[in-house]
């Protein structure tokens, strides 16, 4: 099982030559890098390193970590040197030795109480500063994204842009971001190490009237474009290990372009019979669409219908839009408006399928649609011959699945 085949788009570092996979560098470098702590590693080598900050939030944590690291090394050195001296110097030479019976020394006791206490204060003060610094919004005009944790995938909703996507969070570089975190089922934890620390994604308790619901927040500003890996960090059930995500940090225009493509996407490509508001499934209260949030209507988009379309895509679209798929999955601009499973708009642009589990290519999408539970135990999606959650098996043939995969991958 290949989990995450797609390499980072962060530029390859220059010093890591092709032959660097030799045993010695592989052993030595990983040990040296964290020991030296500063400026370590490129994102390509350790895509989830906690020592390689790419946001202001991660930066604050990292500099705090480095200072504490050296304090602890100092204490460790003192203790170990003392033990080494004791072990060597005071080893018993003869059984008749009668060492001086010393019961204590007030000055020493005060010394090794006050000394560590001072170090502890030196650690605590910057820590508390950082606690407050990292828990307030970066800016008033921050980009707001509502993150919803599901077993075992991530939903990202941009209320101001009217965009909903899954498992691949897109952010503009250098713009402050505020993530509002909420879980739909059990506790998850949102964690993208290069962009900062983790924060639990809690199911929100029902609130009494007049009280604010207390969601968790993460505030940070990504400082470099690239693709960053994240993963759920709070054990959330069978496939907790497979609840990963990507964060694509793009420049301003790239991000805006993606928002535009999202609104304009597949919907316009859908042939007339199934276009418009007469969609059959899932257009009730569960919709999370642009219209709801006052964004421009996507239907009138100017995107051109591709003149020549792969016939398989056409077949796949028919199959998808007329199946139970649409009860859970939404695709912008189509009657498929399900909102309880990942929104598949612009699916073809995503790097992975199954929340970072598999590379997003035809073979893997087919595998996924055929037998999702084999790839990801506990997933609620039904397979072709196995029910999932409350849903019966889809009963698609492999050819039909191939057509659906082709359709989904055409969503760009």
């Amino acid at each position: 099982m290949r989990l995450t085949p797609k390499r980072h788009e962060v530029p390859e570092s220059t010093w890591r030559a092709g032959g660097a996979r030799a045993l010695l560098p592989r052993l030595v470098m990983p040990l040296m890098v964290p020991l030296l702590t500063a400026g370590c590693g490129d994102a390509d080598q350790y895509p989830m390193s906690t020592l390689n900050p790419h946001s202001d939030f991660a930066e604050i944590i990292h500099s705090l970590y480095v200072s504490i690291f050296w304090w602890t090394m100092l204490i460790l050195a003192v203790v170990w040197v003392l033990v080494a001296v004791v072990v060597v110097r005071f080893r018993r030479k003869s059984d008749d030795e009668q060492p001086k019976q010393i019961r204590g020394h007030l000055g020493l006791e005060i010394g090794w109480t006050v000394g560590p206490a001072l170090i502890v204060v030196a650690i605590t003060i910057p820590t508390i500063q950082a606690v407050f610094e990292t828990q307030r919004p970066v800016a008033d005009d921050a980009l707001l994204v509502e993150v919803t944790g599901h077993q075992f995938w991530w939903e990202f909703h941009y209320p101001e842009q009217g965009v909903t996507t899954a498992n691949e969070l897109r952010l503009p570089v250098d713009r402050p971001v505020s993530l509002r975190l909420e879980s739909n089922d059990v506790i998850h934890s949102f964690w993208v190490p290069l962009l900062g620390g983790k924060r639990d994604v809690n199911p929100e308790p029902a609130v009494r009237e007049g009280r604010e619901p207390g969601a968790n927040w993460l505030h940070f500003t990504p400082q470099e474009t690239g693709v960053y890996r994240g993963q759920c960090a709070e054990f959330c059930g069978d496939s907790h290990a497979l609840m990963a995500m990507r964060v694509v940090v793009d420049d301003e225009s790239g991000f805006d372009g993606w928002i535009e493509r999202w609104h304009a996407s597949a919907g316009a490509a859908v042939p007339d019979p199934v276009n418009g508001e007469d969609g059959s499934a899932g257009d009730g209260e569960v919709q999370v669409t642009a219209a709801e949030n006052g964004a421009p209507s996507p239907v009138a988009s100017s995107t051109q219908v591709p003149t020549e379309e792969d016939p398989q895509v056409t077949v796949g679209r028919e199959l998808f839009l007329n199946s139970t798929c649409t009860a859970c999955h939404g695709i912008q601009g189509t009657p498929a408006q399900g909102a309880i499973a990942p929104n598949l708009t612009l699916f073809g642009e995503r790097a992975t399928v199954g929340a970072g589990t598999l590379e997003n290519n035809e073979e893997n999408v087919v595998r996924w649609i055929m037998h999702p539970q084999l790839i990801k135990p506990g997933v609620l999606m039904p397979g072709v011959d196995t029910p999932g959650g409350n849903w019966p098996a889809t009963g698609f043939s492999e050819d039909e699945v191939r057509a659906i995969a082709a359709y989904l991958l055409s969503l760009k």
Partner: protein, 612 residues
């Protein structure tokens, strides 16, 4: 070994009056036999938890392996944690409490011998009840912390979590009863002249630990009852959809869970505070400071629980408070380390296996303590929490601290228990394979954690580039497993075949070394009077003490009757709890009848032979 401390003659003790059959063990109320049963059972569970660990390490040896299914893996890591903490580290410490404390304070048994037996049998039955389900693939599967809402029936409909909350509820009774027993024993049954500030450090730490037990266990008991009601009777304590709060579980769990950490480590601190002076031929440096530091740790241990919850989103003010409290608790711990080093300084250190493990604790525990300082800093913890860095940290603390301390105690007190030494050659093999195994297993985990490997995952992506660390960990785990086999072989071999030991083979200062090895079943022929902290190190006091403790009695002291009610009551309690799984209220009520019957019969059973 016998060359040391031959100041007291070896006494050939024959237990002519004692029955040794199986029934005598089942009905025993002798604290020494209960201790041996505790130790043997905890060691058996150590192998169970160890096998679980090895399976985990096999699955994680390489990225993207699928040797073990995710469902089974989640059960394995849940039970590994649950087993090692509740069925190994805690009861193994209790084994030492049981054997050593009455002997150290000059008592003939604990205050409530039958209650003591009940503790053991409840621990055994509860432990077996929790352990068996893994064989059928229905073991608890929501991590040893069992965070709601994952434990609620809507997300975990099987019986897995039922085994967990019921099993821990049962085992908790044992700890609670044990805590009450040792507090009462230590307060009331000390030999004349043994003031509190003359007690050996191990007894002191037992005392502090017992207070932690009777205060912390009720909190987890409440949490378990809430969870049980949520699961069985559909209440909504932790169900957010119905106004419950899953974070409440985390508070309850960690209000218990952090004192629990000190329940694990303080006994080990106690052991090495006795071992280091003995093998340095010097009294403990700064005795009152070490005592107060232990007491202080016990108190502050109650105010740090939310450092397990820095990612929960409690807000900056709560986070800052718990940062400060956690930093403060590091100070008394550091003070202890320096006092141990000062005890050795200028001493005449003999590196027996017991002493090696004690020094090993000072060296290795410090690493775990310092990585603890790193994630005591809340922002840093936001990166390290729930990664392998934390896994490395608490294994350094629990294995490198708690377990190393207990193994030190094993080599130290084994001659007292069996009248024979453990093999020092095998002991040194045990020590060095432990040192290599534990460092090779857990040190690389710091790196896999810093490079972003979360804990509680059944597999990880090859792209994380943490294969090498996981491979080292797996190799280390097997070496560590080997060390456990060496230890067990040493115990089995030395139990009958070891070199005979005298009453005080190490030349140690405390009262347990004033009586024959192994002791009479009544411990002390006459209770000695104590005049100092090291009664056997003062020539005049030693003679007085030995006159009392080594005398031959014409008539043995009256000891409590054996009783089969503890084992029956323990079985009844286990059954009553197990019936909670049915969810039928009248079955559950009926299940309490055998418990009431046993309590009634117990209450009217004469504790002492007729006429006493």
């Amino acid at each position: 070994m016998s060359s040391v401390g031959t100041d007291t003659p070896a006494v050939q003790h024959t237990s002519h009056e004692e029955d040794t059959g199986l029934w005598s063990w089942i009905t025993t109320v002798d604290h020494k036999r209960i201790a041996i049963m505790y130790f043997a059972t905890a060691t058996a569970f150590f192998f169970v938890g160890g096998m679980e660990a090895l399976l985990i390490r096999i699955q994680l040896m390489n990225p993207e392996q699928s040797i073990i299914s995710p469902e089974l893996y989640n059960q394995l890591f849940t039970m590994h944690g649950t087993t090692m903490i509740f069925l190994v580290a805690m009861p193994m410490a209790v084994a030492f409490f049981n054997y050593v404390v009455p002997l150290q304070i000059g008592a003939r048994d604990v205050a409530f011998p039958r209650l003591n037996a009940l503790s053991y049998w409840i621990f055994l039955f509860g432990g077996v009840y929790m352990t068996l389900p893994i064989l059928f693939g229905v073991a608890p599967n929501a991590a040893w912390t069992g965070y709601a809402t994952l434990t609620l029936p809507q997300f975990n409909p099987g019986v897995n979590v039922d085994f967990w909350f019921i099993g821990l509820s049962i085992v908790g009774i044992a700890s609670l009863a044990g805590g009450v027993n040792f507090i009462t024993t230590i307060i009331n049954m000390r030999a004349p002249g043994m003031k509190m500030m003359r007690m050996p450090l191990f007894t002191w730490m037992t005392f502090v630990t017992s207070f932690l037990l009777i205060t912390a266990i009720p909190v987890i008991a409440v949490a378990m009852v809430f969870l049980g009601f949520d699961r069985v009777f559909a209440t909504t304590f932790f169900n957010p959809d119905m106004g419950g709060d899953p974070v409440l579980w985390q508070h309850l769990f960690w209000i218990f869970g952090h004192p629990e950490v000190y329940i694990l480590i303080l006994p080990a601190f106690g052991v090495i505070s006795d071992v280091i002076p003995t093998f340095s031929k010097k009294p403990l440096f700064g005795y009152p400071i070490v005592v107060y530091a232990g007491v202080l740790i016990g108190f502050i241990g109650w105010g740090v629980w939310s450092h397990h919850m820095f990612t929960v989103g409690l807000g900056p003010i709560a986070d800052s408070f718990f940062v400060a409290a956690t930093m403060i608790i590091a100070i008394p711990t550091g003070v202890k380390i320096f006092n141990w080093i000062a005890t050795m300084w200028g001493g005449s250190i003999q590196f027996t296996t017991a002493m090696l493990f004690a020094v090993g604790l000072v060296v290795i525990f410090t690493v775990g303590g310092l990585s603890g300082i790193m994630h005591a800093s809340a922002p840093v913890d936001l990166q390290q929490h729930d990664t392998y860095f934390v896994v490395a940290h608490f294994h350094y603390v629990i294995v490198g601290g708690a377990m190393m301390g207990l193994w030190s105690g094993l080599y130290y007190w084994f001659p007292k228990v069996s009248g024979r030494f453990l093999s020092e050659t095998l002991g040194k093999w045990h020590f060095w394979t432990t040192m290599i195994g534990l460092n090779l297993t857990f040190f690389p985990m710091h790196f896999s954690g810093l490079f972003g490997m979360p804990r509680r995952i059944f597999t990880y992506s090859a792209d994380l580039n943490v294969d090498i660390y996981n491979q080292l960990s797996t190799v280390g785990a097997f070496i560590f497993g080997l060390s456990a086999l060496i230890m067990t072989w040493n115990i089995i071999r030395s139990w009958r075949g070891g070199e005979p030991a005298s009453a005080n083979p190490w030349g140690a200062p405390h009262l347990e070394w004033s009586i024959p090895s192994p002791p009479h079943h009544y411990n002390f022929p006459a209770i000695p009077t104590i005049r100092s902290r090291e009664p056997l190190w003062n020539a005049s006091e030693r003679e007085e003490v030995l006159a009392a403790t080594m005398q031959e009695l014409d008539e043995e002291p009256v000891m409590p009757n054996p009783s089969y009610w503890p084992v029956l009551l323990a079985a009844a309690i286990t059954l009553a709890w197990a019936l909670v799984m049915t969810g039928i209220w009248w079955v559950i009520l009926l299940g309490t009848l055998p418990v009431l019957l046993c309590v009634f019969k117990w209450a009217f059973e004469p504790p002492f032979p007729e006429g006493h």
